[in-house]
């Protein structure tokens, strides 16, 4: 396969995300712009300009109308997807680490970092109520005093948010009351990324403890574990195959002291049921910070510490391949 290389960022990629149909790919990095790309040919649709700090997270709503970004400039911004205009600016007291639209696209959540004496908060806004945005007053704000949230996704039906914490815990926060519905402590180190399956029944968590784990979204029951020998920065579930792709590598600060050959900068494919690795794809010059499957399952993208996003369309061999059990 010939990957399409997207060079829209000057610094390391922090998150990439497809929209629902997968025709658009959004990428954010530690520079200040968010990019929107056509996934089919890698053409850049545009950039969302306005942030003044590293952008940590991006999300797009169900009908690709709005885009949400959270940044270290202590703001979360809502954009019009088509024109790139800023629709809303939500100021916070510390960096925004994760953000997401719920299934309806009406409610947004974002979490802020424990930073500069401020606590970690999980905030919920209802976009249908302009007053909330005007006053910058979330309808629900949940403090997380124990350990800050490092990654979060919406659960099914928009009832709760599944959040991964710095100490490895995974919690379900109710979007209505803010209370913790379920807890799981399977990881021993920080959760770097959480992604849900296409039908939202499962979530996969990527952790610094060198594993990625599959959980049931509702019960938070631990299903599978995928082990590697390096910290896992991101993991995604294939929408059509029983596959999981994981991206990682050693810590960014150790990259310059390790050769590419032994750096383990490949994207690694695991069989979801057997928990066994069956394939690898090389390409990045640094650790992979984020991976995402196209919603049709025929391609996947990865964003790396090297600042590039690579869109890979799978060869036929990938679909023919069967793991010897």
């Amino acid at each position: 396969m010939k990957p399409i290389l997207l060079q829209g960022h000057e610094r390391s990629i922090t998150q990439i995300k497809y929209n629902r149909e997968g025709d658009l790919l959004f990428s954010v990095a530690k520079d200040t712009v968010a990019n929107a790309w056509y996934s089919v040919n890698g053409e850049r649709l545009g950039t969302y300009n306005g942030h003044t700090g590293a952008v940590w997270c991006v999300d797009c709503d169900w009908d690709t109308k709005n885009v949400l970004t959270g940044s270290a400039d202590n703001s979360c911004r809502l954009w019009d997807c088509e024109t790139g205009k800023q629709l809303a600016l939500l100021q916070t007291s510390s960096a925004v680490r994760t953000c997401g639209f719920d299934f309806s696209g009406n409610i947004i959540m974002f979490s802020t970092d424990k930073q500069m004496g401020y606590q970690c908060y999980l905030n919920f806004f209802d976009l249908r109520d302009p007053q909330q945005i005007e006053d910058n007053q979330p309808y629900l704000s949940v403090p997380c005093s124990e350990s800050k949230i490092t990654s979060a996704v919406w659960g099914p039906l928009g009832e709760f948010v599944i959040a991964g914490h710095e100490n490895g815990e995974i919690n379900q926060f109710s979007a209505k009351s803010g209370e913790i519905l379920k807890k799981a402590k399977e990881h021993t180190k920080q959760i770097n990324d959480m992604q849900s399956s296409v039908d939202l029944t499962m979530v996969i968590s990527a952790s610094k403890d060198n594993t990625a784990k599959l959980f049931d979204s509702t019960s938070l029951e631990h299903i599978k574990t995928f082990k590697t020998e390096r910290p896992v920065n991101s993991a995604a579930i294939s929408p059509i195959m029983d596959h999981v792709v994981m991206g990682g590598g050693q810590e960014a600060m150790e990259v310059t002291t390790t050769s590419t050959r032994i750096g383990k900068f490949e994207a690694r494919f695991f069989h979801a049921a057997y928990e066994e690795e069956f394939g690898r794809v090389k390409g990045h010059f640094g650790p992979i910070n984020c991976v995402a499957f196209h919603p049709d399952g025929k391609s996947y993208s990865s964003g790396g510490e090297d600042g590039y996003v690579r869109i890979h369309y799978f060869d036929p061999q990938y679909f023919d391949f069967e793991l010897e059990a």
């Binding site: 396969m1 010939k2 990957p3 399409i4 290389l5 997207l6 060079q7 829209g8 149909e21 025709d23 658009l24 712009v33 790309w37 056509y38 089919v40 040919n41 890698g42 053409e43 850049r44 649709l45 545009g46 950039t47 969302y48 300009n49 009908d63 690709t64 088509e82 024109t83 790139g84 050959r261 032994i262 494919f269 066994e276 690795e277 069956f278 394939g279 690898r280 794809v281 090389k282 390409g283 690579r310 890979h312 799978f314 060869d315 061999q317 990938y318 391949f321 010897e324």
Partner: protein, 296 residues
């Protein structure tokens, strides 16, 4: 934008510079569409002033998509891409080199691959260090069995040394024993002078050197004309001689006036001392005495 008007008329150098900046002298880019192949031909001048022709071919694909996707495909570009032409901009989008997914069919393959990739793993297989106590892959001082196995082994070695040492000694005196085994026994570095053969160095070259020392006499006050044959004649009557050494000047070959005579038997040497000491030989009075054992 480049135009043909400028091609022939260049009124002043200032315009010319401007034109070059605008790439005005270059043919305008062409775009041809043949079937589903689009060919774009562009001309460029690089920093060295060389002209480049860039030909890019595109495959035009028609894909069926949902209405929403089709609508999005026609969206206007915005932000930093606002002025980009339709189609991917080479500044931001490139096609990378071919990469292949490497399939791993079994766990062994995976491990083999791992080892290939990590040069350190190759070394791990080999023993760089070997523990003297347990033959493990670590330094002796870090051996986990140092306290238990170590003293046991020493005792064992001592016992073995007593039993094998006796056997070894006569064999050793017959032929010089190589220093290697001695070194292996203790493992420590032993300087050559302290090794087993060290004390009788050069034995094979000079058999019974020690015996010689006992039956060697020193003769001094010899005349310069003395030859080894003269000494042989002089001392043969006392007994069989094993060696005669006459000190000679390197350059002239003349005697330095002293010599060592080694007899096979000490009694012969004693008689020679008694007989020759004070003997007038070639107008000089010889002085004969026991040779002092050499320091080395």
């Amino acid at each position: 934008m480049p135009s043909n008007e400028y091609d022939d008329s260049k009124p002043s150098w200032a315009d010319q510079v401007e034109e070059e900046g605008d790439e005005g002298t270059l043919p305008s880019p062409k775009e041809t569409i043949k079937g589903n192949i689009k060919t774009v031909t562009e001309y460029k001048i690089d920093e060295d002033g060389k002209k480049f022709k860039i030909v890019r071919t595109f495959k035009i694909e028609t894909r069926k998509a949902s209405k929403a996707v089709a609508r999005r495909k026609n969206w206007k570009k915005f932000g930093n891409s606002e002025y980009d032409a339709p189609g991917p901009n080479v500044a931001t989008t490139t096609v990378s080199d071919d990469v292949f997914m490497t399939f791993i069919s079994s766990k062994e393959d995976l491990n083999a691959q791992d080892q290939d990739e990590d040069p350190m793993n190759k070394l791990k297989g080999q023993k760089i260090v070997s523990c003297r106590i347990c033959k493990g892959d670590h330094w002796t001082t870090r051996c986990p069995y140092k306290d238990t196995l170590g003293p046991m082994q020493k005792e064992l070695a001592e016992q073995l040394g007593l039993s094998t040492g006796d056997k070894e000694k006569p064999a050793g005196s017959a032929e010089p024993e190589p220093a290697q085994p001695a070194q292996n026994k203790t493992g420590k570095y032993v300087p050559p002078s302290l090794r087993d053969g060290g004390t009788r160095r050069g034995e094979s070259m000079q058999p019974n050197r020690r015996a010689d020392d006992n039956a060697t006499i020193r003769v001094t006050n010899l005349s310069e004309d003395t030859r080894e044959t003269d000494l042989q004649e002089l001392f043969r009557p006392f007994g069989s001689i094993s060696r005669i050494y006459l000190a000679k000047d390197k350059n002239t070959g003349q005697s330095k006036g002293f010599a060592f005579i080694s007899f096979h038997r000490r009694e012969d040497a004693a008689r020679a001392i008694a007989g020759v000491s004070g003997f007038g030989y070639d107008h000089l009075i010889l002085n004969v005495e026991w040779a002092k054992p050499s320091n080395n």
